[in-house]
């Protein structure tokens, strides 16, 4: 059985026909062609699929599109302002926080939520808060550095 699911994605109002079982990540990638959000595991472990739903980071492989009906969704494609990268994206670039880049969209979305929810951050907290995101390349060190570097920039800009 299909029915229409509507939501706001990166500021735009969108709708698409979905089955009950259609996942939010399928909605984004297959219906909207927003392929920046990745599927790494499809078993809720790796965090490559993290997006924001009403300002909160979620694993879009473990959320039905129907559950996001009417929600405000932001994906990695919604962060940059034209050619100007979001401060978190810029910090990842400057700190060499990616190698193959597969985990990066989810890492960046989790990292932004983490900064939004923490007035202060230290290395230990960042590592604990990154438990939902796996990276097979970097060893995490530069990702942690990037998040710590982006924190004051994001807080200062707010």
């Amino acid at each position: 059985m299909t029915s229409t699911v509507s939501m706001t994605v990166n500021g735009k109002q969108v709708s698409a026909e979905c089955e009950g079982r259609t996942l939010l990540v399928q909605y984004l990638r297959e219906k909207l062609a927003l392929t920046g959000t990745h599927v790494g595991c499809d078993t809720s472990q790796c965090g490559a699929c993290v997006v924001h739903v009403d300002g909160i980071s979620v694993k879009s492989c473990t959320l039905l599109a129907h559950q996001a009906e009417g929600a405000d969704v932001v994906t990695i494609e919604g962060l940059a302002d034209g050619d100007t990268l979001h401060p978190m994206q810029e910090a990842f670039r400057e700190n060499h926080a990616l190698q193959c880049g597969f985990c990066t969209p989810g890492m960046v979305m989790s990292a932004i939520d983490m900064v939004n929810r923490h007035d202060t951050l230290d290395e230990k907290t960042v590592r604990h808060q990154l438990e939902g995101n796996l990276c097979r390349c970097t060893g995490y060190h530069n990702i942690v550095k990037a998040i710590l570097a982006a924190h004051p920039v994001m807080k200062g800009a707010a």
């Binding site: 059985m1 089955e19 009950g20 079982r21 996942l23 499809d42 078993t43 809720s44 472990q45 965090g47 993290v50 909160i56 980071s57 979620v58 694993k59 473990t62 959320l63 039905l64 129907h66 559950q67 009906e69 989790s110 939520d113 983490m114 808060q129 438990e131 939902g132 995101n133």
Partner: protein, 265 residues
């Protein structure tokens, strides 16, 4: 994943009639267990009835020495609640140690206890604090709620509306997490309650259980030394690639000791 009908319920009554009226209806809370289960084809419900739109199911309140947590309260909300952290810090801390931030942003207490995974954290708090589970039909004592591996006292169409935790004089939860999933290989919740000390163990066996010998010893002296030499038998414990039954039995004593030390601050 097989297809199913999705429905968003507007009230508890609506959710219950949608589930009982369907061929094989199930409630959908955070989806952090049921969606992976359906993906693995371990469940094939005909209908998922979403509880997220029901008013009043997600509240958290503290009054009269009782912490009440709505069935739809997310782990992240319990973890971040200043009122919970003030009344039962061990409960806020337990919620903050479940899975990872994205799991905590979606997963709920109602879903967690209804599912009763042998390695889940909340069952240890429900039993360890002598909580009461409230449903659309009745109140169920925490001690009677968890009946076996993935089994609870809930009947078909029975919905967890809230859980009430009496505030103990002190409590702590220590878990030895699986490094990949963060589920408990062994988790021990200890509390000094009005009815005496309680020790509840999750992760070690097929279902959460209390350790009477430790509770008795803590009644004499609420100190880590009191439980340090109490070993539990490994006959009924879980054994898997993560830990043998013998190792789990050992961890129960270690985690109990640490939990008592932590409860004493």
């Amino acid at each position: 994943m097989y297809d199913f009908n999705y429905r968003k319920a507007s009230s508890v009554g609506d959710a219950v009639s949608a589930v009982t009226g369907a061929e094989d209806g199930r409630f959908l809370a955070g989806g952090m267990t049921i969606i992976p289960t359906i993906k693995q084809r371990l469940a094939k419900p005909s209908d998922l009835v979403d509880l997220a739109g029901i008013d009043g199911l997600a509240g958290i309140s503290v009054s009269g020495g009782v912490v009440e947590i709505g069935g739809m309260a997310r782990h992240a909300e319990v973890n971040a609640s200043a009122a919970v952290a003030d009344a039962i810090p061990a409960l806020a801390q337990l919620a903050g140690g479940i899975g990872d931030p994205q799991v905590r942003n979606r997963g709920t207490i109602g879903g967690s206890i209804a599912n009763n995974d042998p390695a889940a954290d909340y069952p240890a708090a429900v039993v360890g604090l002598g909580a009461t589970v409230h449903t659309n039909r009745r109140e169920i004592a925490g001690d009677a709620f968890f009946t076996g591996m993935f089994e609870t006292a809930l009947e078909d169409g029975e919905l967890v509306t809230k859980v009430s935790f009496p505030v103990p004089s002190k409590a702590a939860y220590m878990k030895f997490p699986n490094p990949a999933s963060r589920y408990a290989i062994v988790g021990v919740f200890v509390a000094a309650t009005a009815g005496g000390p309680r020790v509840a163990v999750t992760g070690a066996g097929p279902c959460v259980f209390r350790v009477a010998e430790m509770e008795q010893a803590l009644g004499g002296s609420f100190a880590p030394e009191a439980v340090a030499d109490i070993k539990i038998g490994d006959g009924d414990l879980n054994s898997d690639i993560h830990a043998s039954a013998e190792y789990r039995a050992h961890l129960v004593t270690v985690m109990a000791k640490r939990a008592v030390a932590r409860a004493n601050g």
